[in-house]
Amino acid sequence: MLLNRESAGKRWKTRPDGPAKVTGSLSYLTDLSVPGMLHGKVLRSLYPHARIMAISIDEALKAPGVAAVLTHRDVPGLNGFGIVTPDQPVFCSEVVRYTGDAIAAIAAETVEQALYALSLIQVDYEPLPVVTDPEKALLEDAPQLHPGGNMLHRTDYSRGEPEQAFEDCAYVTEGIYYTPRQMHAYMETEGGLFVPEESGRLTVYAATQHGFKDRMQLSRILAMPEEQIRIVSSPIGGSFGGKDELNVQPYGALLALATGKPVKIHNSRRESVTAGLKRHPMKLTMKTGMDRDGKLLAHEVKIVADTGAYSTLGGPVLNFATEHSIGPYRIPHVSVKGVSVFTNNGVSGEFRGFGGNQSIFALESQLDRLAAAAGMDPWVLRRINLRERDDPGPLGQTVLPSEGPEQVWRSVAASPIWLRKEQMDRGEIKTPPSPWLKRGVGAAMTMHGSGLGYGIPDPGGGRLGLSADGKLEAAFSFEEFGQGITATLEIMLTEMLGCHRDDLRIVIGDTDRTPHNGSSTASRSTTVAYMALKDLVPRISEILCRIASLAAGLPASELQTGPGGVWHKVAAGGYKKRDKKTASPLITYAELAAAAGEAIQLEADFHFPVTPDPVVGGHYLYTATAAAVEVEVNLLTGAVSVLDQYHAVAAGPVVNPMGYVGQIEGGSVMAQGFALFEDVCFSEGVPRTMNFDTYLIPGICDISPGFHIDAIQELPQDDPYGPRGIGEVGSVVLAPAITAAVHHAVGISIGKLPISREELSGILPDLLAEKVGTP
């Protein structure tokens, strides 16, 4: 179904947080202030790699308004953080490894006083050689950044005998692909408010995508029991993975505990760019071969990821890149070797697509090059090699049967944009009037894993009940960072319970008030919410109808939940209305709560669906997606404009049509930036694009006028998991579709993103001489 406002009809719902966001009245956590609070600032390293010889804070301590100056000496617990391996120091004591490394933190009465005091801290550095090239970092004589060396993680997957199989190939293509260090570019920079409570507890109001994980990490740093820490982590002004890891929380928490006063920290954009995570730049070397009929035989991949100074999720990102470098294709002989390497280039980490974006760009480009070499239609080549419903996953693991790849393939094959390509190829479409404007169409596809993958704890669940004040209360440990989880929960609940949105209270992003049902990452939340509510809704309905049955003297089987309370149902469904105008529930939720005498709370608890096979990081659920785009290349400048795009997404039933469209549109804009503009430039370990005046992301004028989404809702019969996550799939196939379209337009194969205009532009007189007559 083409999904848009019209086709969604009544299901096109204004998101609950929409009006406050549009009018600007919504208060983010970084908007919070309390009387008497202090302001925190963090001193970060001047050098990308240096030894710290001495740190002197004496002058800073004497500065006006200063309440505390903290360094590595003031960390009561573990001086380190990192979701997997806590190797990033809260405060550096001996060595700094990137320009975002923290050395000290100050709390003062005003931001200006804190900044002034920062300037008084004396740090003596001895600069060390800077490691900027991940391949050189692996050489023996390279400076070593960590006790264990410069290699964070290695992957190695193989099946068959690729080396031999290449000998049987009629066509072999070899390519090297480079992807950029993309920045999340959220509107709200990292920050929050940290409040020491009278009870001795600490409340942290700061964005994260996994509140319980922050609680665990802060507990380690502060040497404080987890129960003594409350994390309030929603709403968030954008994250895209960038706020999944700790950022300012250790400093805010330590300063608040040291001073006994609330402390606010809010990164400037410059601080955010310097200290924050980025997408892993990767170099992917691929050799792919097929037989004369277009059947893929062998595929060899080498991945080198620049993970920057610290681990965070660099390992899992490489696992994901490894898995997704094989794609939804049947390839008998495969070898993938990946390595993630420490450098002094900032810190790379979690980012929408999670390593898939890089691999999919390279793999899909390889298939296009093979098709071109063999003179085949690139989309037909994919069909020949497409996996089937019950095939194992990319790493040979058992996966849930899925027809998604075939569904999205067919959708794009029949899309207006792809048909236009065929017309172009037959010369049936008029070319633009200017000889330097060239148009082309390209497409790409993938299946993208959801959930954290085999071997990583991935708890699911949720809570649903009736509160003492008569609200249907649902609690999940998710965060709302714009992806629309609150709207999705509201729609699921109103549709499953038949209630009104005003009957609901949705509680998220608060470790004191929600059960632990995992992170808001990895395209997992929608599936977790659906699985939890599928379990919880019948249970709560039964309890509510039973209480109503006692109160109303009617059999519970004749009752059902509805707007405002429990209603009498008729055989045909709907509500028995004594009088249409005064139709009302038999008993309201408030009356039910009073009758129950206490709050009712039901919990669901399960693990996110995972493959039974011990393939670390391997996924069980996938969302298939494909995109076709039409581009125009201006050869005068090399600029690429995206004119039209079509996305096919096979993610099961559409829960929230507006949110679905928003996710695919937003993801695709991000992918367009990845393909055409974005790269945080570093020279000698120092970032050069420090703000949005040099780091450019696509603006509204860059977005294609045409945007079409085919939401494929059909799942195999008895599929138990319902709607799949779509938070990432909008961002993973657009880049290779764009480069394919550029190739179709001008015949140039792109190996490096963002696309260099200098590679595409031509010399006008040459263009005129070749392509057109005299004026």
């Binding site: 860059d702 205009r757 200098e758």
Partner: protein, 326 residues
Amino acid sequence: MAVHYGKRTVKVAEPSTLYEAWRLKQEGGAGAVYVAGGTLLRTQWENGAATAPSLIIGLDGVMEYRSIVLNANKGAIVIGALTSLEEIRRSPVVAAHVPILIKAVSAIAAPSIRRLATLGGNIASLSGDAVTALLVLDAELTLFRGGPGLEKVLLKDWLEGGECVRGSGALVLEVVIPIVQDIPAFSAIPASQGADDIGAGSDSANGMASAVQDEFRSFGFFEKLGRREAFTPSVVTVAAMGRLGEKGSFAKVKMTAGGGAALPHRLYEAERFLNGRRVGPSSLAELHTLIMEGCASAGDLFASTDYRKEVAANLLTARLWELLKG
């Protein structure tokens, strides 16, 4: 009043007269900086591209230089230096007489910034995108140097003359843009300029036969390539004005290129090549080479010098090719 820039506290003075502003600058020396809209200076201070000043001399109070006046007697439009880019963009007078200036200011930054940024500031930055357009318009600046009188200098001379012409502390007060009227070309082309290059004519594009005299029409355009479609610093800006005869000969052509950190400049060799010549495919190629040779671009992280030159030449040549094609 005071504002903070990083660790520095910066004083802000708000003079209401030109003389007061001048005096503050003389007293403050290098640490005192005139600020009109402040949109560019602010980013330079924040990025460390310029040292944050100790004194900001806010010019907003000097209101008399915030206007757009059509001076029919002088055949010129006079724009006060404190006029915002947005006021220029919306001005019917500017639209009627110098549309390429509208095109240039419309391509600068975003609406909120155009409401603060001034034409004077764009010129004082030396590399402003409007400068590329003003250069082909033969704009003249009115300067104030503290003396009793005002000084007039051609924008071209002001840019080309370097610090010895611009001096320190001079305030740009007005931009005077002459209005060009459409004049038949035979009176407009000096006899010395290759009249014999203009061959005997075929029928003109619009079907009106012109046997002996060539009918000239004026043209002008401005093009900007940014790193994205809107709200972007320029990579390349080009502008041209001149006259094109119905038989394909050019006259009175002026061309400029700028963009990025480059000072916008005239492309004299290319202009000389074009003026009085009938242009065919081979001469377009020659013109392209001359433009590239005449272009003084400054490469940076995002675009190399050679690329900028090539794009400048492409944009100019392409627009001329389109003009010739009719």
